[in-house]
């Protein structure tokens, strides 16, 4: 409670401290978007008019009343749109977005944050992507009627353009249904979200997993210690060669921690396979054939996670 009160106090001070922004003078074209569209009438450019960025009734948006239209994002265009002498190269527009752009990264992102600072800017500054010099336009297509990074089926490919190792993991035999287009990265990761320093959808790994796997939350009468601490101690959430996305096969996975005398300590070798002397400690669900309540048991006789 003390922590909460302190945080409330700081938050209240911050509200009081906030003040209006200052204005800045710049040179813009004389006719706004009409100047731009006289030349840029291709499909890619015009697609922006199918997005929320181009709604004249939205006073906050680039095309709202009195706003700067194309130049709200691309910067002053007077020089770019002006006359050039024969043979002279036309000067580029102030801000060009995307891969291969000559516009400095900070200028590209600054254009986006001009409007989006209040909602996502703070998380952006303090998370990992700016350290890696990622541009907003590396992930977002602001002119597309449907931005691929905001669609479940297409979002992973956007993320995998940089996170290639994670893409490989999702192609393993046992993985969340990302390859099938039924789950996206933001099911677990909240890139612009409010979680500080984790970029997870919830505040901890377990809270994130339990959004969909709430049955494993407990608390159980008989808890399994690693389950209560971190799902990642036994599971590889991006994918695994092993069923259940386990980090390795049982019984070796279980024997990484369990050394009680008797069957937990017995090495289960290949003699126990179906062609040899079939072992219930090795085949089927291995240890979980009996200790099936591995995430915890609420049975009064369930201390060994068998009930």
């Amino acid at each position: 409670m003390k922590l909460l009160i302190q945080t409330v106090s700081i938050a209240a001070l911050l509200i009081v401290a906030m003040q209006s922004a200052d204005a800045q003078e710049s040179e813009y074209s004389r006719e706004g978007a009409d100047t731009c569209l006289a030349c840029h009438d291709d499909d890619l450019t015009l697609a922006v008019f199918r997005t929320k960025h181009a709604v004249p009734s939205d006073s906050r948006g680039p095309f709202g009343h009195g706003q700067l239209q194309c130049e709200a994002c691309h910067g002053p265009g007077d020089t770019h749109a002006g006359r050039v002498r024969r043979g002279q190269e036309r000067p580029p527009i102030s801000i060009i977005f995307g891969t291969g752009s000559v516009t400095p990264l900070e200028a590209q992102n600054g254009a986006c944050l001009t409007c989006h600072q209040a909602d996502i800017g703070f998380s952006w500054h303090t998370d990992a992507h700016p350290s890696d010099e990622v541009a907003c336009a590396d992930c977002h297509l602001s002119h597309a009627a449907t931005d691929p990074v905001r669609q479940t089926a297409t979002q992973p490919d956007v993320c995998f353009a940089c996170h290639q190792i994670q893409r490989s993991e999702t192609r393993k035999a046992f993985a969340h249904p990302i390859l099938q287009g039924k789950m996206d990265c933001m099911g677990c990761h909240d890139i612009h979200g409010d979680t500080v320093a984790t970029q997870l959808a919830r505040l901890t790994v377990n809270d994130t997993c339990q959004q969909c796997h709430a049955e494993k939350r407990g608390p159980y009468l008989w808890e399994h210690a690693p389950v209560s601490e971190d799902c990642g101690l036994c599971h590889s959430p991006h994918g695994s060669n092993h069923p259940g996305m386990l980090t390795k096969r049982a019984p070796l996975l279980c024997q990484s921690c369990h050394s009680q005398s008797g069957h937990p300590s017995i090495p289960q070798d290949a003699d126990g396979l179906a062609a040899g002397t079939p072992s219930q400690f090795l085949l089927g669900q291995a240890c979980m054939n009996c200790h099936s309540q591995v995430h915890g048991s609420n049975h009064p006789s369930g201390s060994k996670l068998m009930r």
Binding site: M18, R60, R171, R202, P219
Partner: protein, 699 residues
């Protein structure tokens, strides 16, 4: 490209709202006459049919194409726009068990809403069979006639009693949300989700030395609510949110009849285990952020308090009525966990070429569940002579990350960081654990097209002491060092290289890590991890592109055990290898009418396990393998802007070698009545034809 001015300019940009820009520019003549603003409605519909060649659990998983036959399908999406009102809907795979329906809209700047429904099929095995029949009261009963026996091989009615039961479940998610912009600074959001999951999973039912794989019914419902209010300006924000996750399980227990021989005097012919209990999690989260432009600094904090509750009524110690038991200490757990999370993040550009970053997190799980003494009945057969106390695990975890970047040259940035993790636990062998991690990084970007990023570091996880006395009370060998509690040193490195031009892009990421557990006599003693992934893409025309991808991984670990419950007498290695390749191309607008797309992917997984014991000597298991081939070809013919015919061909093959399942029929293992699941061996051809047509606003 000039580097490392991100923070300065972003902060500068942050204080320059677009409105402020606009105030200084005369836009009165900006008529936007050529702007084709979206008004009215438009929609794309696709009607199609897909023929699937074979039954397949693996390919049916998540997609819904799990059975041979023809699937009719409907997809579509559409938009409606009028003034500031926007609405968008989408429908996907309506003819499948993976259908998705979504609707969102609102008035820009005023409010928005979303409504969604989706299903996700989980198809695990379609080769399983069981003798158990589920009765009306939920009990898994034996067939009649049935001959009990001590081993599965002697169950004479087994083979004739097996009934095919697929291990599968279906999840559905209903989602309703809304957001309100109360002013340009205040926003209010509310979201409700309901997830339902029903079907079967494999459960393990044990008697003393025997086990039965059970088709365990699933009937879960989870309700989630997110409410939030946020005050935000360009300089700072404050938000307050409440989260609720309420889980309910219609099956509190699973009862099954014992197929093995039972003791007629005890009468332990029926067993019961508890299923996951209902639980509820609530959390309040307060956050704030502020930017200090003069100091070129951004700071964020968050604080959350939560509570997890679980108070489902206990089952009795045993379902076997002939066994005398003491009264339960409580009728329900009254389980309660308090959670606390605090975080601070600070980024500051201390001068033009340098930036520092600090992240601090504190997470606490304080399990306040009361401890009692329990006198269990072992597998519903006999009362234990040992009294046991339930252990409510708690921990405190704090993580500190400090890093600094410095622009050595215009093209070179060097970084260094230090991470510290402290973990204090209750009721475990290690009470206090720390991990220190130091790393360095060099990034070289000679041109905007080429970047080399090298990172390396080393960490050491240390513990105050490993409490062998406590471990012994848990029955553990005192030499065991659980891998998450053990001393560990780690060295790692990561190299990324990327090059891009107008036509080509190449990127490579290689990572290596080595773990050493030098103070562990039993348990994990070492591990290595090597991963490489590479991409190549080629834009060979305005409408055509091709790509190649590849990835390789090797993960090795070594562990030691003691069968004699003394010093090490067996050793094991567990190596996971994985390789994946992909290739494809797509060409659009061939003769302004045709699109072609082809994708191919192959993934090979191999796991090698060797167990070497003093008694049995080296014993290598057959490799666990999985081979996935995926090929897709798509052809589309556009009759007009509003009508398209498309053909889709998919071939998928998945073959697995898995000794845990291979040859394991219900009666193969004398003391395990399995469901007889087979390793995956599936070939599926899918051929689909679809017609897409568009209505609404003209292009």
């Amino acid at each position: 490209m000039k580097r490392n001015q991100t923070l300065t300019l972003c902060i500068a940009a942050a204080v320059l709202s677009s409105a402020a820009h606009a105030q200084d520019v005369d836009t009165s003549d900006w008529a936007c006459e050529y702007c084709p603003f979206e008004e009215g409605h438009r929609a794309d519909y696709e009607l199609g049919a897909t023929d699937v060649s074979d039954d397949s659990a693996y390919f049916g998983n998540a997609t819904g194409y799990d059975e041979e036959g023809v699937y009719a399908n409907v997809d579509g999406n559409g938009t409606y726009a009028k003034d500031a009102y926007r609405m968008r809907w989408e429908a996907e795979d309506l003819g499948l068990d993976s259908r998705v329906i979504g609707l969102d809209g609102g008035r820009l700047g005023s409010y928005n809403f979303n409504l969604g429904y989706r299903e996700l099929p989980r198809r695990q095995f379609n080769s399983t069979a069981t003798i158990f029949e589920q009765t009306a009261n939920g009990t898994l009963s034996l067939p009649s006639p049935w001959v009990h026996a001590g081993t599965t091989g002697d169950m004479t009615e087994l083979n004739s009693s097996l009934v095919s039961r697929n291990i599968e479940s279906d999840r559905s998610v209903f989602d309703l949300g809304a957001g309100f912009y109360l002013s340009d600074r205040w926003t209010l959001s509310a979201d409700y989700r309901r997830q339902e999951q029903d079907g079967l999973r494999i459960g393990g039912g044990s008697s003393f030395s025997q086990a039965s794989a059970l088709p365990m019914p699933i009937d879960y419902v989870t309700d989630e609510v997110d409410l939030g209010i946020r005050y935000g300006t360009d300089k700072g924000f404050v938000s307050l949110a409440w989260y609720l996750s309420d889980f309910g399980n219609d099956n509190t227990a699973l009862t099954w009849e014992q197929p093995y021989t039972f003791d007629p005097i005890i009468g332990n012919d029926t067993f019961r285990l508890a299923q996951a209990p209902d639980n509820r999690f609530q959390q309040v989260l307060l956050q704030a952020g502020y930017s200090f432009p003069q100091q070129r600094t951004v700071v964020r904090i968050s604080a959350a308090m939560g509570e997890i509750e679980q108070d489902s009524e206990f089952l009795p110690y045993t379902i076997t009525s002939s066994i005398a038991t003491s009264p339960l200490p409580r009728s329900s757990l009254a389980g309660s966990i308090d959670t606390s999370n605090f975080a601070l993040a600070l980024t500051s550009k201390i001068f033009s070429k340098a930036r520092i970053k600090l992240n601090y997190r504190y997470d606490e799980r304080d399990n306040k569940t009361v401890q009692d003494v329990w006198n269990r009945v072992i597998v519903d057969t006999f009362a234990s002579v040992d009294l046991e106390e339930n252990i409510p695990y708690s921990f405190e975890r704090s993580t500190l990350n400090l890093s600094a970047d410095y622009d050595l040259l215009d093209t070179v940035r060097v970084s260094a960081g230090y991470d510290r993790k402290d973990l204090d636990r209750d009721f475990q062998e290690v009470a206090e654990q720390t991990e220190d991690n130091g790393w360095g990084r060099l990034r070289w970007q000679p041109t905007s097209a080429l970047e080399l990023d090298i990172r390396g570091g080393a960490s050491e996880r240390d513990i105050d002491s490993y409490n062998e006395t406590f471990a012994t009370t848990l029955g553990q060998n005192p030499l065991m060092r659980k891998y998450n509690l053990a001393y560990r040193s780690r060295e790692y490195g990561d190299v990324k290289l990327s090059f891009s031009s107008d036509k080509f892009s190449i990127s490579l990421d290689a990572l290596i890590a080595e773990d050493s557990y030098t103070q562990s006599e039993l348990g994990i003693t070492g591990g290595e991890e090597r991963r490489v992934a590479a991409d190549f893409s080629w834009t060979f025309s305005e409408n055509g592109s091709a790509y190649l991808t590849a990835g390789f991984e090797e993960m090795e670990s070594e562990q030691v055990g003691s069968e004699a419950f003394s010093t090490p007498d067996w050793y094991a290695t567990h190596d996971d290898d994985f390789a994946t390749y992909g290739a494809g191309f797509r060409v659009r607008n061939i003769a302004e009418k045709f699109d072609l797309q082809m994708d191919y992917m192959r993934s090979d997984g191999t796991s090698e396990i060797v167990v070497d014991s003093n008694v049995g000597g080296p014993s290598a298991f057959p490799d666990l393998t999985s081979k996935l081939d995926y090929f897709r070809f798509r052809f589309a013919y556009r009759r007009s802007e509003r009508f398209e015919l498309n053909l889709n061909l998919r071939y998928q093959r998945f073959v697995a070698e898995d000794w845990a399942l291979d040859g394991v029929e219900p009666a193969t293992v004398p003391l395990l009545l399995s469901l007889g699941a087979d390793p995956y061996d599936e070939d599926v051809f899918m051929f689909g034809i679809g017609f897409r047509f568009s209505i609404g606003t003209e292009e």
